[in-house]
Symmetry: C2
Subunit: 512 residues, 2 copies
């Protein structure tokens, strides 16, 4: 409250900042941020009534999950968790923030999106940007050379949120990684199998998994005449092919990035290629491509990968696609991305929609091989080969939520099996006694926290929240040592002796 | 790397800061923090070999969880989750950071322990300090007037970590709260029932739950002659009674806080009282205490609470204790804290150790009623009465971990049911084929990611990681359409036809 006197001055200054930005035609984002600061200042001095007014909101790009959303989220997590466990993964956890230097130099251009903590004395800290770099730090720190682990946790990116499309600043990643020196492409193939299993099981429409290899990209750039120092920037332009037509990508390469037209056209031919094992075989024969040792090594691995994918029965959804170029710096070999296809979303119910013409609407999984990252943390640079995949849960969750909205089915937010109610007044003690018996027997049960609730409102509560059974107590039941057990759906009632009640409830709820 | 040139200068400056602090005899913590900054700077210019050296550590007061710790943690969470669900709670999630002003003014003196995010343009943000304030913000923002919810998530406090005693800067809280206008003490009693159930089920030794009421404390201070403006500070001195003897607490009140000796002695008499419903009844007759309306109201509620606790069958562990004074500002009524008793920890295996003389070794749960917090967020100040409890998982987890260390039992970190192995070379493809069959049938299965692993090392892996079954493939088995199924524990082997394998594995693993 001591600072309150200074707020009007701060509002004046901030108001000028906003006006200046507007006159300079600054970016909408920049103006919005300064306006939001201004509004916060104004909120602090309160409304007309002089009371303190809070800005009642969550931080930009974040959201709360209400119970219904949590119920859906739990379902999605259980599917993913089930798959990770089926594949024999352990789990670890790491802190939500790391020493700033742990994250420094791992994400290339994206480093500007990292959230830093305020220097309050002590260490300089940043919120984790993904789960991969902390995983690599963990391996190096504990000198672990092989592990198969999953990690489901939130990560943080100061990106421009697009929340309607499921893009947030705080979001979950569900990572599965295999670290260790193994024979080529076996762990890599398992990661693709995992994406396949999860996307199939979630039943959110048709999908494709695109595969490429960092070495094929680099080799391709080399043989097409891209100068070494332009690999990265050209690579990030190629990465835009899923959002832009080739003409625009070509233009960016030539006009903005100064690539020769000839080189751009050669790249254009390659990145239009899609296929399976046969495409890798064809490119291994390609006169230009085979000049690059790197590209050849990558193509051999793609071939081997597809042979394992056949054994894993997933080749119907996996496409070798030379235009796939994932952004992160740390990939060294195979890279992949799982996309839901437009057709898949539009015609969720129909299986087997056309593949070739379907447009990708967004990546829901991605990953690749990163053999160098752990070595960056080891004092002696000892490498631990790693391959992994990250499931982007938020977009999946948005789709599941829409599906739940569209369907008539009720989403239950609790697992309560029985509600203890009374038909007459002054039976609170008896209700609590019975409730205790049920709880102590492990039954999920509730009462209304009122001394004398109306029978109708108690029954209505069960209907509303989907509780299947009601145990009704009245003077007569108490005298007879009975309980009236009512099935909410059918409204059928049966008199059960108190001694048999728990068995009867367990029998009925295990049937459902 | 561009900044590297500036590091030597920064080291010099930082070195001077450290020297200055030492010469000024600054606090150990302050010096340690500056030294840690210095070491980080030094690490950045690398060792003698000129290579970049990372400080391979997690941030101060935080830790990683390895797979074994995670397995224990999962078990603890499942117990807690099971209890929360048995009591019919829904769950919500809120972001890890909130607008700074959301947290401002809610924690009293502890506010200095809040982690702030760096101002990178945009909103001012802080990491959540508990789950209660975000919950209240959520209720006000969504105009929710009644809900029973649990929330299990990490919170952040820039406290002095004491990690050996399970005190961290990042730690989990497991919260259960009931919001809504209900009849007195029914939800409050359920919160205590929950603490009782969880601490019993976790089986970590004997415990007690102390109960008091904010109004009894305030009333007691009033009738003992504590000036109004000293209630808070005297209250926080009383709060130290579980760590200090009365003599020292008295001294702090009189010498440091300027309370009269008479008032201190009167407080001393009250705060030595412990009991149950009968103590509340006695104090309701107490000449001095009954002068305070507040205290009387609190005592009436304690009496009512104990009547419900009797119905819930938990009075053997609940103690009405006038010395209990929880720190947080927002409590308005009943407060409680669950403690493990020394006896409980020392003689974990023995049940029913003496209660009166046992010394509390640390709070593992705490909570209370906070009827005003939601109103602080509502523009019109509309109140939503709330009561809740928070289980402090880290200390419990430390104990569970020690228990696991001490016991000979292996903690499994995966749930793998069967390992697919081969006795001969060149059977990778066959192994992967069988593995796919198992995965597709929902069986948790693994292979070694090598083309030709040794049979012995495959079997050894199963022994080490506790995998119960091995499916062995050889040329002969493949010819005959059979698989040899081995039970790792007994080393028994049986030939199973391929068609029956999945059923057989499911049968055997469901038995276990």
């Amino acid at each position: 409250m001591a600072d309150k006197a200074q707020i009007p001055e701060a509002i004046k200054v901030q108001g000028e900042v906003v006006l200046k930005l507007k006159s300079e035609k600054a970016s909408k984002e920049q103006i919005d941020e300064e306006v939001s600061k201004l509004l916060q200042l104004k909120a602090q001095i309160g409304g007309d009534d002089g009371e303190h007014q809070f800005v009642l909101k969550t931080a930009k790009g974040t959201r709360d999950y209400n119970p219904k959303q949590m119920a859906i989220r739990e379902k999605v997590f259980n599917t993913i968790l089930g798959c990770f466990k089926r594949h024999g993964a352990e789990t670890i956890d790491t802190p939500v923030f790391e020493l700033k230097e742990t994250l420094t130099g791992k994400y290339g251009e994206d480093s500007k999106l990292i959230y830093d903590l305020k220097d309050q004395g002590g260490e300089l800290l940043s919120l984790r940007y993904d789960l991969t770099v902390p995983f690599a730090r963990y391996l190096a720190m504990n000198k672990i050379t092989n592990i198969k682990r999953y990690h489901i946790a939130k990560v943080y990116r100061r990106d421009n949120p697009a929340m309607t499309r499921g893009r947030y600043r705080e979001f979950y990643q569900c990572d599965f990684d295999i670290a260790g020196q193994y024979d080529a492409m076996i762990p890599d193939a398992e990661c693709l199998k995992i994406v396949y299993e999860i996307l199939s099981e979630l039943d959110i429409g048709d999908f494709r998994i695109k595969v490429n290899d960092r070495r094929i990209l680099d080799g391709m750039f080399a043989v097409c005449g891209v100068p070494d120092d332009k690999f990265r920037t050209i690579c990030s332009t190629v990465d835009k092919l899923d959002k832009m037509p080739w003409e625009e990508v070509r233009k960016e390469m030539v006009s903005e990035k100064g690539l020769s037209e000839e080189a751009a056209d050669q790249i254009g031919e390659y990145v239009s290629l899609q296929g399976g094992m046969e495409l890798a075989e064809r490119l291994l024969q390609d006169q230009k491509m085979c000049q690059s040792k790197q590209a050849s090594a990558g193509l051999m691995d793609i071939k081997l990968l597809f042979s394992y994918l056949q054994l894993f029965q997933v080749t119907d959804k996996v496409v070798f696609d030379l235009s796939l170029a994932r952004g992160l710096d740390y990939y060294t070999g195979i890279i992949y991305e799982g996309f839901l296809t437009q057709a898949g979303i539009a015609a969720e119910a129909q299986n087997g929609s056309g593949a070739e013409e379907s447009v990708s609407v967004g990546s829901v999984a991605g990953g690749g091989r990163y053999d160098g990252l752990v070595g960056m943390f080891d004092p002696k640079g000892r490498k631990v080969p790693c391959v992994g995949v990250s499931i982007g849960i938020e977009r999946i969750f948005s789709i599941m939520e829409q599906k739940a909205e569209a369907s008539a089915q009720r989403v239950r937010t609790t697992e309560v099996q029985v509600m203890v109610v009374s038909a007459q007044k002054n039976l609170l003690e008896e209700r609590l006694k019975l409730l205790t018996e049920l709880w102590n027997a492990g039954i999920k049960a509730e009462v209304i926290y009122k001394k004398n609730p109306k029978l109708l409102s108690q029954l209505q509560y069960c209907e509303d929240s989907g509780i299947p059974l009601v145990a009704i107590l009245g003077e007569q039941e108490l005298k007879d040592g009975m309980v009236k057990l009512r099935t909410v759906a059918t409204r059928e009632e049966a008199d059960i002796s108190r001694a048999d009640l728990i068995t009867e409830i367990k029998r009925r709820t295990s049937e459902a």
